[in-house]
């Protein structure tokens, strides 16, 4: 039995999932992200985005220079909601 090539560790997306997405016409990074879930796990694409973008471009016959990252949205690291919900400190410090 052939092993799985994991392209996105967080969401268990495999290389054959990407091939399947490309075959269905979802060959751009944002499309493949929506179809396979790549880059939507705890790491938010930190580990997988570049390799997936490159693989999709090559599989679809597009030059790598056209590859774009998916949109970066806050927060870039997981934080507890309590951190955002804490009270404001009225005082103001310097560096």
């Amino acid at each position: 039995m052939a092993g799985k090539v994991i392209v996105c560790r967080c969401e268990d997306v495999t290389q054959s999932d990407l091939d399947h997405a490309v075959a269905l016409g979802y060959s751009h990074l944002e499309e493949a992200k929506r179809y396979t879930g790549l880059g939507t796990g705890p790491c938010q694409g930190k580990e997988c985005m570049v390799a997936c973008a490159l693989y999709l471009a090559l599989a679809a016959g597009r030059p790598p220079s056209e590859v774009r990252p998916f949109t970066s949205r806050p927060p870039v690291a997981a934080i507890a909601l309590g951190t955002l919900a804490g009270p404001d400190d009225p005082g103001e410090g310097g560096g």
Partner: protein
């Protein structure tokens, strides 16, 4: 560096010895715990990969809190550590049958969608398979939320690696408030994982920065640029020294410098997620910071200067190192299940590809780190795909200025360049910022 355990964790009811202050992930690995987590869909066994808080492979339940990064949590006496989303246990997870039943993978778009009764049943099964962790243990009294902080500075630098520290040193001046934020528990960034530099070099550079009047705030993770709030602010989540919920620091600066470095990236081959397959910098960090060998017979995959430095350091520590350059010889598959036991390596023979099997007990993957460009992009910087730079590099002019006024970037986030070149780049960018402050009407 000899490792002397001085405290004990409680891992799923068993006592595991640890060095207080080292990452829990390292304690568990050193104690022989091979599987730290199970993957979300196929329940494949996983250990940590990057040891830098980025890859998401080491989420565990720690002291009753779900989804805590074991690589960023420092061991202390009596800390309670458990694996999550596995049944009946992380070591033996029967849900891993999914990995065998679906060798080609599951397509959730089309699988068991009809008839309705099957679909309803399947949804119940999938809910058992999926998800990450369970809700936190209820706390006996309401938790007090940490108060936020408002901080106005002249220069805010994100990342206390060689580039960020060098930039801060170069633009520091009496009366100028320069602050560097770093997500790690110690300043130094990529210096801390590099056998040729290490903790001593990191401490020297950090001491130089402090002597120049730079404030360094560790365990302070820059999480976002919010352009709409208070005229634009950098949000930083800062963990108090004694632990507890991070507080929010709202930072406004005349100039922002993104020196966020790069993320470790895995190579693509069959079963490339097996425990024991680490980012090379994780192997380096374990060796030089924590005195733990990733394996006795490690494969080091990569042909760059970092791979060479790591091979040398591992050999000096007594390992039987097997370098695979990844170009002439490529790793095509990993062997082993709960831990890597070997790799299949392919090279070009006279009549076609030749495959050989190598037995090993660890793999260090030294691919180019991918520029950590998210924050700079949120702050309006432009990126371009640079294969030789590891991915999406932030575009700057010769002075490190991005297309957004007041926003700068330096080091590996502008395309991977390595420790020494990143430090030089940081210095150049810092000097350019200092010159801009010196011009009347500019800067603050």
């Amino acid at each position: 560096m000899p490792r002397t355990p001085d405290c004990a964790l409680e891992f799923e009811g068993e006592s595991v010895s640890a060095v207080a202050g080292e990452p829990v992930a390292v304690s568990l690995f050193a104690a022989g715990v091979k599987v730290l987590s199970r993957s979300i869909k196929y329940h494949r066994p996983r250990s940590f990969f990057c040891l830098a808080g980025h890859c998401g492979a080491c989420l565990m339940r720690i002291d009753g809190q779900p989804n805590i990064k074991a690589c960023r949590t420092l061991a202390s006496e009596g800390m309670k550590v458990e694996r999550q989303n596995a049944f009946p246990s992380g070591g033996l997870d029967v849900l891993a049958a999914a990995d065998f039943f679906f060798p080609k993978g599951m397509d959730h778009h089309t699988m068991f969608t009809a008839p309705r009764a099957v679909n309803t049943l399947m949804q119940k099964v999938v809910r058992q398979l999926g998800g990450l962790g369970r809700l936190p243990d209820p706390s006996p009294e309401p938790q007090e939320l940490p108060a936020g902080e408002r901080l106005r500075v002249d220069v805010a630098v994100v990342g206390a690696g060689p580039a960020g520290l060098a930039a801060a040193i170069a633009c520091a001046a009496p009366g100028r408030r320069v602050v560097v934020f770093d997500e790690g528990d110690r300043a130094g960034g990529s210096l801390l994982s590099h056998p040729a530099h290490g903790v001593a070099a990191a401490d020297r550079l950090a001491a130089e920065a402090r002597a120049a009047g730079v404030a360094i705030r560790c365990r302070a993770s820059a999480i976002a640029w919010y352009p709409e709030d208070e005229g634009g602010l950098l949000a930083v989540a800062e963990q108090p020294e004694g632990g507890g919920l991070p507080r929010l620091v709202r930072v406004t600066a005349a100039r922002y410098v993104y020196a966020t470095g790069g993320y470790d990236v895995n190579a693509l081959f069959e079963d490339n997620d097996r425990p024991g397959i680490f980012a090379a910098r994780a192997v380096g960090t374990m060796l030089i910071r924590h005195g733990v060998l990733a394996g006795a017979r490690p494969v080091v995959l990569g042909d760059g200067p970092y791979a060479a430095a790591l091979c040398e350091a591992l050999a000096a520590a007594g390992c039987k190192v097997m370098p695979i350059d990844g170009v002439r010889e490529r790793v095509v598959a990993a062997r082993g299940r709960a831990w890597v036991s070997g790799v299949d390596v392919q090279s070009d023979g006279k009549t076609g590809p030749v495959t050989r099997k190598i037995a090993c007990d660890a793999v260090a993957v030294a691919t180019l780190p991918a520029p950590a460009s998210e924050l700079a992009r949120q702050h309006g910087a432009e990126v371009a795909f640079r294969p030789e730079g590891g991915g999406f590099a932030v575009l700057t002019d010769g002075n490190g200025a991005t297309r957004t006024p007041g926003v700068h970037a330096c080091g590996d986030v502008c395309g991977f360049r390595g420790v020494l070149a990143a430090r030089l780049h940081g210095s150049e960018v810092g000097r350019a910022i200092a010159r801009a402050f010196a011009r009347p009407g500019e800067g603050a």
